[in-house]
């Protein structure tokens, strides 16, 4: 298994000027993560947990406050934003953005939208070649040719989603980051897009980072899942393990919250309240403290590190069971 992308201790802090010097919102806080070649990783968590910031950090759309993003060992964060736009690595990480309506330039026809990255990133100038590649990609994502001359507002939601995907895969990236690609679609369309995405990953041998709040969808597409809470990773697990035996109390609540007709009438543990403030959080208090059913004194004294709780399975909780069994470090 070769590592394609590695995030090392990534942090993104947004200073809050009004509140004074040194006060900042910790959107992403010391997050490390790897994605293997050909792997599909899910990223879940509630709104405001730092998912979108992670997308922008890994997509090199914003600069991290600290930490690095490495693509096959090359430190991308060492390249400045402006230079990165023209660097050969730019094409290797692409993002499919949430809400296809907003992510398409309203004044670009579908053809232009797909052709633009070809011109900029691959430096293609021959219009015959561009046209050939745009058509091939359109066919690949199931976009009828007659739609190429349309504007985004003349397309349906599903068609827009396909254009968004086509624009990202036309440059044949190694890593495709999908930011809630189906959240605005009806289930019937979502099903088609999910199958398309799964199919594309095989055909173009890409890795996926699939960001979603819908755990059922993540489960369908991903082999490994990363759970974030308030800027921190709280659990990393193989998909099956996460859904059958989540280890971190937040992950447990998350899995328990999935609507499931098969479990009608069961009383399941619920997570009440709202998350603590992401502004200058105390580095020695577990971020989940205050909402956590297992909270104890130790949780306010030390931030629990991610540690192994099973094969390829890590959790950041003082009470997570280690693989050896029932020993905890109280």
């Amino acid at each position: 298994m070769t590592v394609l992308l590695e995030a090392r201790s990534l942090s993104k802090l947004y200073p809050i000027k009004r509140a004074g010097r040194g006060v900042s919102l910790h959107a992403v806080d010391d997050v490390s993560l790897t994605i293997a070649a050909g792997e599909s990783v899910g990223l879940v968590g509630e709104s405001g947990c730092g998912k979108s910031t992670m997308v922008r950090l890994l997509g090199r759309l914003i600069d991290p406050t600290a930490g690095q993003v490495l693509l096959e060992g090359e430190d991308l964060t060492a390249i400045t934003q402006t230079k990165f736009a023209a660097s050969p690595s730019r094409r290797r990480i692409q993002v499919v953005f949430q809400d296809a309506t907003e992510s398409l330039n309203p004044s670009f026809r579908v053809f232009q939208a797909i052709a633009d990255p070809l011109k900029r990133l691959l430096g293609l100038t021959s219009s015959a070649e561009i046209e050939q590649r745009v058509r091939a990609t359109a066919a690949l994502v199931g976009l009828p040719e007659e739609l190429l001359q349309r504007y985004p507002h003349q397309l349906s939601g599903g068609q827009r989603a396909r254009v968004g995907i086509a624009r990202a895969v036309v440059v044949e990236p190694s890593l495709l980051i999908l930011d809630e690609p189906t959240s605005a679609l009806d289930v019937s369309v979502q099903a088609v897009i999910l199958r398309l995405l799964d199919d594309l990953r095989d055909r173009l041998s890409m890795s996926y980072l699939f960001v979603s709040h819908d755990l059922n969808v993540v489960r369908l597409l991903c082999s490994r899942v990363v759970v974030m809470y308030l800027g921190k990773i709280v659990e990393i697990a193989p998909a099956e393990a996460l859904f059958t035996a989540p280890s971190h109390p937040y992950a447990q609540a998350l899995v328990a919250a999935i609507p499931d007709p098969a479990r009608r009438g069961e009383t399941r543990p619920r997570l009440d309240g709202s998350p603590a403030s992401p502004i200058n959080p105390d580095p020695n208090i577990c971020r989940f403290y205050g909402r956590c059913p297992k909270a104890a004194d130790i949780c306010t004294k030390a931030m629990p590190p991610l540690r192994a709780v099973g094969p390829d399975h890590f959790a950041a909780c003082h009470f997570a069971l280690s693989p050896a069994g029932a020993h905890d470090e109280r």
Binding site: A85, F97, P117
Partner: protein, 283 residues
């Protein structure tokens, strides 16, 4: 927007609101006056006559004559070029400068934004017409300076509008997608953002044109910028004002009506354009 939808929307805008069509026709006529004014005018606008002072409107002089016996119709026609010219040049200047400054401020943020924003705030801290007066007085009493003053007091509107529009779009998916697609900052701004903010800015400009005309005319009304005997609507109204209390209404009425007509047409056209661009935003 495809050509057919554009045609449909145009038809819609005109059909739904006949005023827009009327406004477009009036503006076309005014433009003709502005271009061919001196050759259309029946008399020399500067030609005085001691015998026909303050003559009532008649077949010979449809709009009557002024206190110096000059033909008011000719003066109103010839003045079109100057009045529209001042407003159009001021609006075009503030449009271009405002778009440039606003886009830079909105896209790059930080210091660029703060400096430009502070400058605009300072302009906006004045009552705008009063600032325009101050500027013309300081720069000197000339038509060029009226244009500059009108441009300056209009600038914040365009600048802020462009800044806000760019700012909204900067975070939008398609701009981030353009960056993912290898576009550098300038290209993102020029190829992906500016084309999308031009249409709403043009609407803004056409709505603003009426105001620019009013400002320029207001300045000449109080004796700034244009000097007699140059025909200009504002100054003609001002000259005619003295004869109202003795009942010679035509000297102020016709140039004033021309002014109203021009402002009204631009406002209507702006409203129509806005409907055309976004039928939902109808007010």
């Amino acid at each position: 927007m495809s050509l057919t939808t554009f045609a449909r929307n145009t038809g819609y805008a005109f059909g739904e609101n006949r005023l827009t069509l009327v406004a477009a026709i009036i503006l076309a006529l005014l433009t003709l006056c502005a271009i061919f004014g001196p050759s259309i005018a029946p008399y020399d606008p500067l030609l005085t006559s001691a015998t026909t002072k303050l003559a009532r409107p008649s077949l010979l002089h449809p709009f009557g004559t002024d206190a110096l016996g000059r033909d008011i119709l000719s003066r109103v026609i010839v003045a079109t070029r100057l009045d529209l010219g001042m407003a159009v040049s001021a609006v075009v200047l503030s449009f271009v400068v405002g778009l440039a400054l606003g886009s830079l401020a909105g896209y790059f943020g930080g210091w660029t934004d703060r400096i430009i924003g502070r400058a605009m705030d300072t302009i906006m801290a004045f009552p705008l017409f009063v600032l325009a007066m101050g500027i013309v007085v300081a720069l000197g009493n000339s038509v060029a300076n009226i244009i500059i003053a009108t441009m300056i007091i209009n600038l914040p509107f365009y600048c802020r509008f462009a800044r806000a529009e760019v700012n909204v779009r900067r975070e939008l998916g398609y701009v981030e997608a353009a960056r993912m697609g290898g576009n550098g900052p300038l290209r993102v701004l020029l190829n992906h953002i500016v084309p999308n903010i031009l249409p709403p800015m043009m609407v803004q400009a056409s709505l603003n044109m009426g105001w620019a005309i009013l400002n320029a005319a207001g300045l000449s009304f109080i004796g700034l910028g244009v000097r007699p005997p140059t025909p200009e609507w504002g100054i003609m109204v001002s000259e005619g004002a003295s004869y109202i209390i003795s009942g010679e209404w035509w000297a102020f009425m016709f140039p004033g009506a021309a002014l109203v007509l021009a402002v009204f047409s631009f406002n209507m056209l702006g409203d129509g354009l806005r409907d055309l661009l976004d039928p939902r935003k109808r007010v």
